[in-house]
């Protein structure tokens, strides 16, 4: 699975993109966030407050309870602030 990170999520993890294969038990985006938090101190810091995180699966915004299904690309980031 391709993982993308933006803004302070990217900064805390120390990279904007990585490939990971989450275990079977990781069913939805919230599970993924919980699992990512175990990978490194940077990941833990980035994933510390899931209520401040938003996500996109295959380039569409999704709620955090969305099942990953056959997602190829999952992005995790703070609420957007464009415009």
């Amino acid at each position: 699975m391709d993982l993308l990170y933006f803004a302070w999520v990217r900064e805390r993890i120390g990279t904007g993109a990585e490939q990971r294969d989450p275990p079977e038990a990781v069913r939805n985006v919230a599970d993924l966030i919980e699992w990512l938090a175990t990978l490194s101190p940077g990941h833990a810091e980035a994933m510390r407050e899931p209520e401040r995180l938003r996500a996109a699966i295959d380039q569409k915004f999704v709620p955090l309870d969305t099942l990953l299904g056959s997602a190829r690309e999952v992005a995790i980031f703070p609420p957007v602030t464009g415009g």
């Binding site: 933006f6 803004a7 302070w8 996109a56 380039q59 464009g82 415009g83």
Partner: protein, 147 residues
């Protein structure tokens, strides 16, 4: 009739408006967002999600053309490094009737704030911080939700 651009070059407002005027519309409405420097901001950096951003802006423009009778829609968003006074975003709509152009323009900037993957980082002197999303933006976008 839909033009979407994400670019790190300055936004050429006169060129964008001229292209909309050439659509033969009776009215052109625009909104331009400008980097403010009044609260000590010395620089602004705009990050985005390449690939998804363009799709999101095209989807927004299409939604507007479904909802209003428009002859042209332009959305230009700058990314990368900017300074106070620079244009961040330009929305332009052309329509036969002014109400359609004006409402679609307001809709597009409200929805862009919540529906497009951009993130702003402000620098004040030596300190940089990511801009927090505002609840008022979610409320403004919600205003356009269909019953």
């Amino acid at each position: 009739m839909i033009r979407v651009s994400i670019d790190d070059a300055p936004i050429e407002l006169a060129v964008e408006v001229a292209a909309l005027e050439e659509r033969g519309a009776g009215g052109v409405a625009t909104f331009t967002g400008v980097v403010r420097g009044d609260d000590g901001v010395t620089a602004l950096e705009l990050e985005h999600y390449p690939g998804m951003t363009e799709q999101a802006l095209i989807a927004l423009a299409e939604a507007a053309t479904v909802r209003w009778s428009l002859l042209g829609v332009t959305i230009v968003h700058r990314v990368g490094a900017m300074a106070p006074g620079d244009r961040i975003v330009f929305i332009g709509t052309a329509a036969e009737h002014r109400r359609e152009a004006l409402e679609a323009c307001a809709y597009l900037i409200d929805r862009l704030k919540t529906d497009a993957p951009f993130w702003k980082r402000e620098t004040r002197g030596d300190a940089a911080s990511w801009v927090e999303a505002r609840d008022s933006d979610a409320a403004s976008a919600e205003r356009w939700a269909r019953d």
